[in-house]
């Protein structure tokens, strides 16, 4: 038994071991678990339908929404977003240089775990990292240009199946932080995201149905009538925090990025259908 063989055997054993760690990946259990939970509760609703959010529980509201989608208010945002996306930076480069496939049809892969930065990178975060690496001022988050670029990138990704990777030890840790945030009660009203979007997701809060957590990310960014413009998912995170009388966090804080990571992962297998309209 020479040294080379010993090293080979040891490496092989290490590899086997690392697979064991990954197979205990909580994330992979979750992906199926949430789908099973909802399909058991609502056996008449197909998993693919969850991309339409709360409209799957309200036929009248769905009809009205589909009428709006004939002439959607976010059309302008897509056009403007494309313009912004295609306009070169001062240094001559453009967004296409920062993303795979020139940035077309890639939204379903975000948020991504970045091993080098040891951080979750959302699409909007990546857009601004692209700007900064090309000596451009980062855009304000939540609405405006960044929401429009995101709307365009979502539009080019429509129909693509969400495929978020959670596999390394640290990415699993970030995922679990997002998951913990989702199920923790907070704010003066003492409510967790789960208090509205899981067991009670088909019930009414005043006139509105909160909608289920499954598929909740697929249709962002959203033109919200209440906002009278298009906003990103983290803008809604802030709003939800405020509504339970919790202090909203900063855009793209580690907490919000981990939350988006968790929420998007559990919608793996569902297609992107953003941008969309909501009340």
């Amino acid at each position: 038994m020479n040294m080379k063989n010993i090293i080979k055997i040891l490496s092989f054993l290490l590899l086997i071991n690392s697979f064991n760690v990954f197979s205990q990946n909580v994330a992979s259990d979750d992906a199926q678990m949430f789908k099973d939970y909802f399909s058991k509760r609502f056996p008449n609703i197909e998993i693919e339908e969850y991309v339409d959010g709360s409209y799957i529980f309200d036929e009248d509201a769905k009809e009205q929404w589909l009428e709006i989608e004939d002439f959607p208010p976010y059309e302008f945002d897509i056009e403007r977003g494309q313009e912004l996306f295609e306009t070169p930076f001062t240094n001559g480069k453009s967004y296409a240089s920062c993303f795979e496939n020139n940035g077309i049809g890639i939204k379903q892969k975000y948020p991504k775990w970045n091993e080098a930065q040891k951080a979750v990178i959302t699409l909007e975060y990546a857009i601004n990292q692209c700007r900064e690496s090309n000596n451009e001022i980062p855009l304000a988050y939540g609405k405006g240009d960044i929401a429009q670029i995101s709307a365009y990138m979502a539009f080019t990704s429509r129909g693509n199946i969400i495929d978020i990777q959670v596999s390394t030890k640290e990415s699993i840790e970030a995922y679990l932080q997002g998951k913990k945030y989702y199920f923790s009660k907070r704010g003066q009203l003492n409510m967790a995201c789960a208090n509205c979007h899981v067991a009670t997701s088909n019930l009414r809060l005043r006139n509105e149905i909160p909608g289920p957590m499954l598929g909740q990310v697929t249709h962002w960014p959203v033109y919200r009538s209440k906002w009278e413009n298009t906003g990103t998912i983290q803008r809604r995170f802030k709003g939800c925090n405020t509504q339970v009388r919790a202090k909203a966090l900063e855009y793209q804080s580690e907490t919000y990025r981990n939350l988006e990571y968790f929420l998007t992962y559990i919608s793996n297998g569902l297609p992107i259908n953003g941008p969309s309209t909501r009340k």
Partner: protein, 115 residues
């Protein structure tokens, strides 16, 4: 003279009773306003109440309250801190988390017991 005294006595007794009745009515009315107010109880967000518009359905409808809560203090505690009965509840702890005062919750309870 005696008749005059008697009449005066009766008048005072009646006035006292009327004042107390008005006080109770005011309490119930104030309780109702607290229930409806979106920045206070905002109870309609989750509960159906009689003919009130656009009620939520997160929680049970608020009907037959006296029968369901023969002990007033149990209803009070439910509004004060619903997590003592169900730690996972969606219902905010209105008293414990300083959303409503003890006095305000007492008024709400008085109103709820009329439903």
């Amino acid at each position: 003279m005696k008749l005059y005294t008697l009449l005066l006595l009766l008048f005072c007794a009646f006035a006292n009773a009327q004042d107390e009745k008005n006080a109770i009515n005011t309490t119930i009315e104030q309780g109702y306003q607290l229930v409806k107010n979106r920045t206070m109880g905002n109870c309609l967000a989750c509960h159906m109440i009689q003919d009130e518009k656009a009620p939520g359905s997160f929680g049970p409808p608020l009907v037959a309250m006296k029968a369901r809560f023969p002990d007033r203090s149990i209803l009070f505690n439910q509004v004060w801190d619903a997590t003592t009965m169900n730690p996972s509840t969606s219902m905010p702890p209105f008293g414990k988390n300083m959303i409503l005062s003890k006095d305000e919750i007492e008024k709400i309870v008085s109103y709820l017991l009329t439903l």
